[in-house]
Symmetry: C2
Subunit: 219 residues, 2 copies
Amino acid sequence: MAEEVKLFGMWASPFSRRIEVALKLKGIQYEYIEEDLSNKSPSLLKYNPVHKKIPVLLHNGKPVAESLVILEYIDETWKHNPILPADPYEKAMARFWAKFLDEKLWPAAKKVVVSKGEEPKEVIEEIQEHLKTLESELKEKKFSGGESLGFVDIAANIIFWLLVVQETLGLDILTEDKFPGLHEWYQRLADDAVFKECVPRERLLGAFKVRFGALTASK
Amino acid sequence: MAEEVKLFGMWASPFSRRIEVALKLKGIQYEYIEEDLSNKSPSLLKYNPVHKKIPVLLHNGKPVAESLVILEYIDETWKHNPILPADPYEKAMARFWAKFLDEKLWPAAKKVVVSKGEEPKEVIEEIQEHLKTLESELKEKKFSGGESLGFVDIAANIIFWLLVVQETLGLDILTEDKFPGLHEWYQRLADDAVFKECVPRERLLGAFKVRFGALTASK
């Protein structure tokens, strides 16, 4: 039986983009279904009734939701080009840092967007506190297992969303001089062909400019 | 070399109790170190500098933090008496529901405690909404892999903390008539010898009564 792999995603979501990176790294053919989040499809509601969110991976009719859960599922289902390290301790560290990105960095980064373009000093400090934690961890060791992209690299795609927001709003949150280790890290990611394909930088910049422009105009 | 396994925990935390359940299920000898969270030890701050929280598992000098990450580490390091299912899809489902318990049910349940004994209608509704989701999922299938305790069962220990809070405050949040499936589930967990050993019901009841009594008296 041919495998059926479908991804319900949204172009601007780093979480569905993570799944695209993983599927491309593994060379898995999939059908991509773009969701309109203001008018969610019956399929999305059926396949993720609990959270009603993208991304959802549908594999031979069986749905998996939550981006980090999906990444692990993909890695365990198609074992070539591993995303997670084989060693249990290294694997635990990868899970720890991916969780940190989702539970600490991303909620803080989202607050800048909600701040509607005003420079939110406290929010910036909060984000930089988390970036410092990452920077200091990077000095100790590389996150990913080696030359190829790993679990934490993929989860760290949210950093590119933060960079777009900072560029749109003209803020200095994550800069090379403040965070040289992080800068080197995301430059390496940005140079990766698969990764680059799944970070829609220009389109995000355009969308954020419209969004913040409208907010500024309506003040 | 003899293995060195230490657990930094706190008796009233469901999260460190989860680790005790897993270690006992696997029959792993460990040293338990009780932390005073109002005066954290230098060891805790050293081993979990990012979150400064319990539980931390120290295995041959290497620390792992975050309870779900620790559970997976334990399961991958000591492979007998598996906690997670072997099948990638079943494993993804277990991870999905453990995440749901931590990110939806627990934050809602905590709000009842913060509400200081007043009956918080909206909070109760929020908790019951999540319980309904679990109840409906239980109708479809058992969470755990079989007769033995699994990942979701262990993560679901937070339900016993909710039951203690409800008993202390005289609330009707999770009752047998409203949630018969959940009731049957946690009764089965309560009857498990290892699980029972790691739910300090009487001591929690005592501590919550003192806490809520003091709050009521100081109103």
